[in-house]
Symmetry: C2
């Protein structure tokens, strides 16, 4: 594909930094501008080559760019867009990489001015780690990326955005913003709540008895609390629905256990194993 002339990445943390590295390595961006709220982070992004230029000012940062990527916590998108909207170049495409989409897309479409396009995106890649220190040009390769166009999304902008993710090795899945949030509640937001609740279920005396099973099951409970507060708040209904399904299965297991129903327990476990083996391709 034709590379973007200038890409602005607002928020050069794990995802933003990795995206800068990946775009540059793939030759998809001639110039990358980083926007941050801490000079030290921008200096590290410059030092590791994730960005070519850097500024603390979103308005200045988006000037002249044909692609602008919102890669901060979801809760900051609105104020950032308000500050930068009037400075977006004619024809600029704005995308985000946030973990929820309905509220984000609604807000962004209201703020991005005529002649500029917004395309909601969610590359399903990352880790519980935070910050530019963990940036990795390979982060996106082989993972899924949800793209959530609406009837207001220009087809050409959508096409270029899809091409960009695919050029980074991602499998693009097109979903409506609402559908995205319903499904991501199941595979991402609910597991975060479950991981946090599993940590809380541990008595102090049990802390020395954790093994690798526990460590893996709770790994995402080490994610940044403020990021996840935003994600959960912007998808509260989707998460509530997923939680309800989850609690139903827990109740089934609890009943089977109370009845000492070995066959029933084994069936539930075997179904889960077969399903997971299939999903992860084992």
């Amino acid at each position: 594909m034709t590379p973007w002339n200038q890409v602005t990445i607002v928020g050069t943390g794990l995802i933003g930094g990795s995206l800068g590295l990946a775009l540059k390595r793939a030759g998809l961006a001639r110039n990358v501008v980083g926007v941050g709220h801490r000079r030290s982070t921008l200096d590290r992004a410059l030092a590791c080559g994730a960005v070519d230029d850097a500024t603390l000012d979103p308005a200045e940062g988006v000037r002249g760019s044909d692609l602008v990527v919102l890669a901060t916590a979801v809760g900051l998108f609105e104020s950032l867009l308000r500050r930068a909207a009037d400075h977006l170049a004619d024809g600029a495409v704005v995308i985000d990489v946030g973990s929820t989409k309905a509220e984000v897309v609604r807000t962004a479409e209201a703020l991005v001015p005529p002649g500029r396009a917004f395309v909601g995106c969610h590359p399903i890649a990352g880790s519980e780690k935070r910050g530019i220190a963990w940036a990795d040009a390979d982060l996106f390769d082989g993972a899924a990326c949800a793209v959530t166009p609406t009837d207001r999304t220009p087809a050409d902008a959508l096409g270029r955005v899809v091409e960009t993710w695919e050029a980074l090795g991602m499998r693009v899945v097109r979903l409506s913003p609402a559908e995205h949030d319903r499904l991501l509640a199941e595979v991402s937001h609910l597991p975060h709540l479950a991981a946090a609740a599993l940590v809380r279920a541990v008595s102090p005396e049990a802390e020395g008895l954790v093994g690798t099973g526990w460590t893996d099951t709770t790994r995402i409970a080490a994610s940044a609390p403020a990021l996840w507060r935003d994600i959960l708040l912007t998808n509260a209904d989707g998460v509530a629905a997923a939680l309800a399904r989850f609690r139903e299965t827990l109740a089934d297991l609890e009943d089977a256990l109370a009845d000492r129903d070995g066959e029933g327990i084994e069936r539930l476990l075997a179904e889960a194993k077969a399903r997971r083996d299939r999903i992860v391709g084992e």
Copy 2:
């Protein structure tokens, strides 16, 4: 420590096979006998050096051994001990490596004849993988091992068993069988139920959207269903108590979400993160 003269490992799967490799590498066993119910498994255990001799007959397998390790599914211990008890050498020490202890210890203490000792053990090491093909001499190194003596456990047998686990690099934690089961329900059995229920919460349309977070959180749902049926059934009350604590936290999170209580959600997530970071030493 003085090595065991002959160690019999009943069940040469992931744990039994790894134990054979580890004991031999550390020079803790002069001879290792494997007992299995499939010739092919025993042949692989012989081929990889996890055992020196092998038999399908538990009675023959334990003859002349000063250490006998039960390393099959917990549900098989009773029938194996019934077949082997009369053939245990005078002074032999019998241990198990099962994931629950109260029922196991009660059963084993009733079946192990006078002049032979039983010491309940639970090396907290393993994986969702099964079988001798995954055996690994390093499996135990650095992990915790619960040892659950009772007032019937001879001090010398207990001492030698603790020394053996420590010589394999394990951190031995002494607990009563009941305490073990209560605590393991929290750090192991509950996470297994949660992982299975998380898999079940996924809609078919969401299957293509899983990322590494989901894959790690649900990894243990790929464990062997029959093994886990036994574990859950032999600790049904402990698991029910842990489930109750877990559901309380889920309800707190659900309430905070319904109230759009961002501060409350962030506090719960931050507490879980701080606790987990401390537990895993990050």
